[in-house]
Symmetry: C2
């Protein structure tokens, strides 16, 4: 048995050696995203559905009372064996080495089994596959979840239909801590099932943030306890609403997979649907001295606005255990504010001149004070920074504008703010062909800046805006295109060989299909059944 | 009761009058494709799931022994009522006019109930909805199928949740007789279920030709009786094969919906997968005087080639009842032929000089003779015409190259050949946004030519090539984008108002979703449940 170091993805195939035929994509482990370090031996161990077990290691600080791990053990046993229902599962291999168990050991005194994942959650793990028992070690349950995914990806079927795994060692941790997928449930309502399926697929790709753009101009599906009229009048219909129960199901499904749920309640723009259920919240627009029937952004000059926001975000901060709330702040249209004589008067009183960015800043600062009082952090879209809003130093700025995003990264980090990058990963903009390569090629730290600045880039988001997406097409549009982003954010910087990525990703998407995720094909070919 | 003439789609909403609120897209009939002539009265009739029946008219030449119609009656009853399971179905409307029945009357002595649809099938129908019994008249069952679809689209729910239909008269017939969808089962295998679902959706859009591009370079899923090795060695795997039973299921499912199944067996190019199971069929390529391991198009210089083709297409002509076979003929790469010394010798003997188009012509002509001997017609891609192959006058040429397709239409029809237009409708080329409008805007007869030439344009095809499409994404990628093509090919030329089309198509796609077709959204919004 000779363990060999696998540094970078290209060597994977070579290292498997002559014993493993490479003709079929399914006949060797296809790891995605590629771990930090993989050592694969040529020696193979067998596994069988009946005898192989995933259990708690004897020294684990988590045990059978850790529902998160118990549930993960059950799930991964099914992922490994469940979708290959073939008669040879009952074959016995008395003469050959068989892997009996995977022991999962949490080493930290607090396993965080009952906690919610957060921005500093430790996702690192170490996986050692040797006869007769494989060992997965992680400080926290979050690393164990990632390691279980890797273990499941290491198992494949040999040419005789037998489950095998190479003796191997994996040491792994993510390159970036924030690896998100944005879904948009305002342009189109997404049924609960679609969201849960998305969370499943995120876990298969080691993504860990669901950025839930839950409301927008078009509809307000969030059912507020304090302001039930918001969804009653602002949702598309009674059937297009997320109840508190729905929200809690999403949050728990995500937690069990080590995924944070960051809700976005975008203001002061993108709020048309809010106005339907909350009187006087939006700015009335004027034509000359006449009020029109249309409304602009949130009305920043009324005290009632801030009273509403205070009560509303207090609820949100309780409903979502996540430490951050996304406050939006993008694309504020100043025309309506400009048309409104009361706003003009207010601008005058405050000596804002004609600079409506100052009014926006005024609003956002008051909003931020409200959020801070709930002990939550906040994320904003880049305009809030661009428009010179005074931000607290712990603000996270999300860069979304595709043109000059590298300069924006440099500017925002130079000002000392943490950054999440979404700009090059707007997956709603579809094009013909293998656009995953474009997403894969992005290097998030490829901008002019110091080491300190680069350290402020905490990750990125694959954004699937909802103008043209609903439950009918979300899954194949998101996967495996978001997988390209997932590897970019998880794997070491030098993992970027396209040919190797193609082979692994093609098999990874087939694995997703076997796990009931309708991920679309990369190119011609087929998946083994 | 005042019947009003509906000429063109724009007037539909106006004519519905004040009794029908227009706030919701589902609250008025959304006809797609729009019939030739629609008269809608303001008077509404009620229908209930329990009492409404679709039956044979007393004078129909078809009766309960016509399985095609019996099956269609059952299906459309379910489409009309099946997906709205709500308690108010049991309400009684004693005081108001209730539609009791739809009588379907076939007027021609031969209803064609047990026949296969063909290029001259009569799809015209007349539908009169008056209390107490609606009457659908058609010369053949094909028109009855189209009329049933229209009837089902006329029924909607009023604001009180009651099924209603306007008293109305529809006279309808398609503008073009050939309205196709191309699927490609070689780049990716499509499971039987996906093909059947596609046929269902085609019927909802009154499309009538499934152009089945069944084999190509990548794989040969057709299981031949005479040459079983073709799929045994040329298919992706044993699981990626269409058995004779599968083929017959597709053909019958299509027939019951008035859809022709035209198989394409593309030669002499696009045949790499054929070579795996049929020795010496493909041309060996040479490098200098040395044979390489690669193969080019079908070898046109061997008698064995024609013996094979003769036997193969004899089988195909029996398996597919359809009167036409698509012979392909596109993108023949001459390099390999040029490299082969035996081909060079053959060219010399035949005085073809260096013009490999003459060799292609030689092959195609011999192939056409073979097809003719089976009494089938044939369709070819435009290169066969472009390369000067001598064609019989009844050849159908399919135009696929997007650049200058109008000139190609003019040239092909000037030479007297019938044409099918696919060029502007390559639905595999996706772009961001509402590209259905681009497909919708096409006018197939917009080219320089005489009336006689225009009459040679028999229709068109929405082509969804399979490079990036498989069962995971086919349905939302095809629908409702192919619906735009469907209306262009069915409805009168002047039906082209985009705003009206948007409203009807948005509701039509929701109707497809209710009928279990995962058609993607046109833009923001929602479907009533």
């Amino acid at each position: 048995m000779a363990l060999q170091v696998l540094c970078g993805c290209v060597m994977l195939l070579l290292l498997l050696g002559p014993q493993v035929p490479l003709a079929s994509a399914a006949r060797h482990p296809a790891l995605w995203p590629l771990p930090m370090s993989v050592h694969l031996s040529e020696d193979l161990l067998h596994l069988t559905r009946e005898s192989f077990e995933i259990t708690h290691g004897p020294n684990s600080t988590a045990g059978p009372r850790c529902f998160l791990l118990e549930e993960a053990f059950r799930r991964y046993h099914e992922y490994i064996f469940g979708y290959f229902m073939s008669p040879d599962d009952h074959l016995k291999f008395s003469g050959e080495a068989q892997l009996q168990e995977l022991h999962v050991t949490i080493t930290s005194a607090d396993s965080e089994c009952d906690a919610y994942p957060n921005s500093t959650s430790d996702e690192s793990y170490k996986l050692v596959v040797h006869w007769p028992v494989a060992v997965l070690e992680a400080r926290k349950v979050w690393g164990a979840l990632r390691g279980l995914e890797t273990f499941s990806q290491l198992v494949y079927k040999d040419p005789y239909g037998v489950y095998v795994i190479n003796e191997s060692e994996v040491i792994d941790a993510p390159r970036f801590g924030y690896r998100g997928v944005l879904i948009d449930t305002s342009r189109h309502f997404l049924p609960l099932k679609t969201i849960l399926t998305t969370l499943d697929a995120m876990a298969f790709n080691k993504l860990n943030v669901l950025h839930w753009h839950i409301v927008d101009d078009n509809s307000f599906p969030y059912q507020s306890m304090a302001f039930p009229d918001l969804s009653k009048k602002g949702a598309y219909s009674y059937a297009h609403i997320y109840s508190q129960m729905d929200i809690s199901i999403v949050i728990e499904h995500a937690r069990l997979r080590g995924i944070r749920v960051i809700p976005e309640f975008d203001t002061p723009g993108h709020t048309e649907s809010w106005g339907k259920g909350q009187k006087d919240l939006l700015t009335p627009c004027y034509q000359g001295s006449e009020k029109t029937n249309s409304f602009g952004p949130v009305n920043p000059i009324l005290n009632t606005t801030y009273e509403f926001m205070s009560r509303f975000f207090k609820e949100i901060s309780r409903v979502f255990p996540e430490e951050y709330i996304h406050l939006g702040g993008d694309e504020v249209d100043f025309d309506c504010w400009e048309s409104n004589p009361f706003v003009t008067e207010f601008m005058k009183e405050r000596s804002f001149g004609k600079d409506y960015r100052k009014l926006e800043s005024y609003y956002i600062q008051r909003l931020i004070d409200i959020i801070s009082s709930t002990n939550k952090g906040y994320i904003v879209w880049q305009e809030v920074f661009d428009n010179g809003v005074k931000l607290k130093q712990d603000t996270i700025v999300e860069v979304w504008k595709d043109s000059f995003y590298r300069k924006e990264l440099a500017d925002v980090t130079a000002a000392g703010y943490a950054v999440v990058l979404a700009a090059p990963w707007y997956l709603d903009y579809i094009t013909y062909g293998q656009d995953w390569k474009k997403y894969y090629a992005v290097e998030p730290l490829d901008f002019a800046g110091t080491k300190k600045q680069k350290d402020l880039v905490i990750g990125g988001t694959a954004a699937l805006w909802g103008e043209y997406v609903d439950a009918t097409n979300l899954t194949p549009r998101l996967w495996p295109r978001a997988s390209a982003v997932a590897e970019r954010l998880w794997s070491p910087k030098n993992v970027r060989n396209l040919d190797d990525a193609y082979d692994r990703l093609a098999e990874h998407r087939c694995r997703m299909v076997r796990r009931r995720i309708a991920a679309e094909p990369l190119y011609v070919g087929y998946c083994e059944l």
